[in-house]
């Protein structure tokens, strides 16, 4: 009696395990839909978590159009994504920074022998400086002041340096709490890169995924920073602009004007930035022009790349990558990213260059 009962439970557990594991991540849709392409197979990408939510939307849309294709994107981080791609563990990589010269000098296991990889910008997101000060709705900051606030050199909102930039606004006598990311993040790296390029005399640390100074407060992930800024008093932080919600966002000084973020201004600074020199003509790695003085630019921006092969060892992968990266950089794909993740669509000029680069993939 007992044994049969245990047997029944075991059978139930086994059946449950089978049922659960069989409906794992990527269900292949039944084949009889409107097949618009002859692409098929399973393809894997890995890398930047900043692209994560956009990738989910892109994959869903692309798989609907190409029912025989299964795509996996693992948001394991930019560095891990590049390592995986170089080692041949994935078909393309997402990365918040372009390949370094050292990485380009090595071999790429996924690519055909003696060919290199390309950086293709696919995801542009402005970073907003968010703040929460009672009675203050608008805030103007220049890079030096922003750097001093986050470094801990300016500790009170009534500091004359802040007042000088905000004529007509009265700031309370309130301690500043600068909130940064406590986890490693491409957002931190791009924020630090902006401060380091524009105000190097204040922000003397090399830009990295980790917040460099022992100052201010840390919070986990973008939503953690937004929560901390929302719930705190006299707080300031940085986050993907799409997540800023109803918080006040600071305008940053570009040239002689204070510029608030817009998707257009973010895309414009990327389009007008020079490419890193000495690389393949189709390698669209930008040397972001953080020190721009053109007030139609918003230089506090994160650019995330798709890293792909110039020439794939496997022709089927080349065909897929051309179709998929082509889709996500198309006007339609960029619109999907704008809706799902608040990204800034690529400018027309840049789109044309990207399309040429993708066409060159073999």
């Amino acid at each position: 009696m007992k044994i049969t009962r245990i047997g029944g439970i075991a059978a139930l557990a086994l059946a449950g395990a089978l049922a659960l594991s069989s409906c794992a991540a990527n269900e292949t849709p039944s084949g009889d839909g409107e097949t618009t392409s002859d692409l098929s197979g399973t393809f894997n990408g890995a890398g930047a978590s900043s692209q994560g939510s956009a990738q989910e939307a892109w994959i869903a849309a692309f798989q609907t159009a190409n029912p025989d294709v299964t795509i996996n994107y693992e948001p394991s981080g930019s560095g891990a994504g590049r390592d995986t791609f170089i080692a041949g563990g994935s078909d393309w990589a997402g990365s918040d920074s372009a390949l370094s010269d050292d990485e380009l000098a090595g071999d790429f296991a996924t690519c055909a022998a003696d060919t290199k990889a390309l950086d293709i910008p696919t995801y542009i997101s402005p970073i907003a400086v968010i703040f929460n000060i009672e009675g203050v709705d608008e805030l103007n900051l220049d890079a030096a002041t922003l750097a001093k606030i986050f470094k801990g050199d300016i500790t009170n909102w009534n500091d004359p340096a802040i007042a000088a930039l905000n004529e007509g606004t009265t700031f309370p006598d309130l301690a500043i709490t600068a909130v940064h990311r406590s986890d490693d993040s491409g957002t931190t790296k791009n924020f630090a890169d902006y401060l380091n390029k524009v105000a190097p005399e204040v922000w003397d640390a090399d830009p990295a995924d980790t917040f460099p100074y022992q100052s201010g407060e840390g919070a986990q992930s973008t939503s953690g920073v937004v929560d901390a800024v929302t719930n705190g008093t006299g707080t300031i932080g940085y986050a993907d602009a799409s997540k800023a919600g109803s918080l006040g966002t600071a305008a940053i000084k570009v040239g002689d004007e204070f510029v608030n973020y817009t998707p257009e201004a973010a895309a414009a600074v990327v389009a007008d930035s020079p490419l890193i020199e000495g690389r393949d003509a189709n390698d669209l790695a930008f040397q972001l022009n953080r020190t721009t003085t053109d007030p139609s630019h918003y230089p506090l921006v994160l650019v995330s790349y798709s890293i792909v092969c110039q020439e794939y060892a496997d022709a089927a992968k080349a065909e897929f990558v051309k179709a998929y990266i082509g889709y996500i950089t198309s006007a339609e794909g960029q619109q999907v990213a704008a809706e799902s993740a608040g990204a800034a669509p690529l400018s027309d000029d840049l789109s044309a260059k990207v399309a040429d680069a993708i066409a060159s993939i073999k």
Binding site: G79, A80, T155, T210, E217, G224, N231, T233, T235
Partner: protein
């Protein structure tokens, strides 16, 4: 007389063989799992001790300088949590076992058990979203008025996401474990001991001090150690609530707080690559050693007094 009767040997039944075999397998399995975890941790940690420390986040001089603040933070947060939770837990347990009317005691017991079932991520959300902002004004007051005590040295945190907030959240999380176990132990006190104490003219409080607490001490220690284990290993709640920094500091209300090993792993693992992964696993090994030491100490404390109690 006849020869001595033949020795009666127990008849081996199939069920006996099966059961003793299964029990042995289960006992061996747990050792195997533990050994597996230990081997994994040690093997994966070795590179962390060999690499150039400059590759570690924050460029410390050595691995030990990196892990030092984390060890301190882990032990400090858990100790603060115990300091808050233990008196309350023992109070609740005694109330349920010896003071409350039977019906109220039952309801209260269920409620406490229910607290233990709440997932830690929910406690994390509550700590970061509700507790931290609402307790922040109290921290401002503490720093303004008691700032001369090193524990409350200025500056004050602007968001309330401090190690004290974390300790309060952890205390709430370990409260049900300590309470439930202590309550069971207190209920085991022999009625004769209690009645003897009362018959000698002891008040109820004196009876508890003379009969219940000495009898329950090993069980209570074991309950506290289980709670401490959970506090040491808690990950999500700490990662979500704390504003971390690589510092050793006893300040309870400041913006720069020492973080804990599990929270540090949770925060950095997703984007870690290369040898930094080994460094994080090595910190996990250190945590493994700490919890091992704590549990051994607990077993020793219980074994020392086992003659005196039923709780072993």
């Amino acid at each position: 007389m006849t020869a001595a009767p033949a020795r009666i040997t127990a008849k081996r039944r199939l069920g006996d063989t099966l059961f003793s075999g299964a029990a042995l397998a289960a006992g061996g399995f747990i050792l195997l799992v533990l050994a597996g975890v230990a081997i994994f941790l040690i093997a994966q940690s070795i590179p962390a001790f060999l690499i150039d420390p400059a590759e570690i986040k924050g460029q410390p001089d050595s691995f030990w300088q990196y892990v030092g603040p984390l060890v301190f933070g882990t032990v400090w947060a858990a100790a603060l949590a115990l300091l808050i939770a233990v008196p309350i837990a023992l109070g609740i347990a005694l109330f349920i076992s010896h003071y409350a009317p039977r019906r109220l005691a039952q309801g209260l017991g269920y409620t406490i058990d229910l607290l233990a079932a709440v997932p830690s991520v929910v406690y994390g959300l509550w700590g970061a979203g509700v507790l931290a902002p609402s307790i922040q004004p109290a921290y401002v007051w503490l720093v303004d008025n008691l700032g001369w005590i090193p524990l409350f040295a200025p500056p004050v945190s602007g968001t309330g996401r401090t190690i004290l907030t974390v300790a309060i959240v952890l205390a709430v999380m370990i409260l049900p474990i300590i309470t439930a176990l202590s309550r069971e132990v207190f209920l085991q006190t022999p009625k004769l001991h209690e009645e003897a104490a009362l018959a000698l003219g002891a008040t109820r409080w004196e009876m508890i001090r003379m009969a219940v607490l000495p009898f329950g001490r090993p069980g209570v220690i074991s309950a506290i150690m289980l709670g401490l284990g959970r506090a040491l290993g808690e990950t999500m709640a700490v990662a979500m609530v704390l504003s971390p920094a690589a510092v050793i500091s006893i300040v309870l209300t400041g913006p720069q707080n020492p973080t804990t090993i599990p929270a540090n792993i949770a925060l950095n693992y997703p984007e870690a690559h290369g040898s930094y992964v080994n460094v994080l696993i090595a910190t996990g090994l250190i945590l493994f050693v700490i919890t091992f030491a704590v549990n051994s100490a607990a077993r020793w404390a219980i074994a020392r007094r086992k003659d005196f109690s039923g709780a072993n």
